[in-house]
């Protein structure tokens, strides 16, 4: 199965079963403040490690290229 087929299939599933795709048990609180807090913290805790690892990877790549450039001179 090609990557494009997987993406299209996933989008079709999201369109047919939006409730399943939006499977967050705490995102339907009656309080707006509470719902917003859950969504914000979920996004925060999901993206933070990715950002840190990605940032470190990019920095190491940049530093490595700088050192390679120094060696070439």
């Amino acid at each position: 199965m090609s990557r494009l087929t997987v993406v299209v299939l996933a989008l079709v599933l999201v369109a047919i079963f939006p409730d399943v795709a939006h499977a967050c048990p705490v995102c339907f609180d009656s309080s707006d403040e509470n719902r917003q807090a859950f969504i914000t913290t979920t996004a925060f805790l999901s993206l933070l490690p990715l950002g840190m690892v990605g940032g470190a990877g990019l920095w190491i790549r940049k530093r490595s290229r700088e050192l390679d450039g120094n060696d070439a001179e």
Partner: protein, 200 residues
């Protein structure tokens, strides 16, 4: 090939050229540790945000709980931030000449002591006003988050004092200073986020 000629070849082989280190091992280890610490504080902040959003009537601090000393702590936060900036200056001074880092490193340590000392004074006053770990979730989160940061600040300060001692004896390496400094920068940079979430 005889043993003698093989030995000769090994001896004549040029030594491998060691390039500049990408990142010192100590600093890399400290960065990995800091990643875990960031997630630890992110978890505490997230829990605090959710509990705060669930408070009846959005009243924060809850009824009957003392107000945190926002203004005094802002000044104290400034001391911590300046300490971080001075430590950056200490790093640049060290790169020029190791002994030149003594004064900025000492100033950074003193500002760190001021921060921790003021935090201790603040805790004593808040305890006297009735804010304890058990008094409310407000008190519980305050002591947990600010206390966890305080413990990290004390540990990082001990590291800075150790590095100052090493520097005094002429034994401090750039890797050691970088490792200790990375931890102090973490303590300095995480504090404004904690101040914003807990005090404001």
């Amino acid at each position: 090939m005889s043993v003698k000629s093989a030995t000769y070849l090994v001896e004549q082989r040029p030594a491998p050229v060691r390039g500049e280190t990408l990142i010192p091992s100590g600093v890399l280890g400290m960065l990995i540790f800091i990643f875990t610490e960031v997630m630890f504080f992110a978890g505490l902040i997230s829990a605090h945000t959710i509990v705060r959003s669930q408070t009846a009537g959005q009243m924060w601090p809850p009824y009957g709980q003392p107000r945190l000393p926002v203004e005094q702590t802002a000044l104290n936060s400034l001391a911590l931030l300046v300490s971080g900036v001075v430590l950056v200056l200490a790093w640049f001074a060290y790169k020029k000449s190791a002994p030149a880092a003594r004064i900025p490193l000492l100033i950074s340590i003193l500002l760190g002591v001021v921060f921790i000392g003021f935090q201790g004074k603040e805790w004593v006053a808040l305890l006297a006003e009735g804010l304890t770990l058990q008094s409310s979730t407000y008190g519980g989160f305050f002591y947990l988050i600010v206390g966890a940061h305080g413990l990290h600040a004390v540990a990082a300060l001990l590291g800075l004092i150790w590095s100052f001692k090493q520097l005094d004896q002429g034994k401090l390496t750039a890797s050691q200073l970088g490792t200790v400094s990375a931890f102090w920068y973490f303590v300095v940079l995480v504090w404004p986020v904690l101040y914003w979430k807990v005090y404001l």
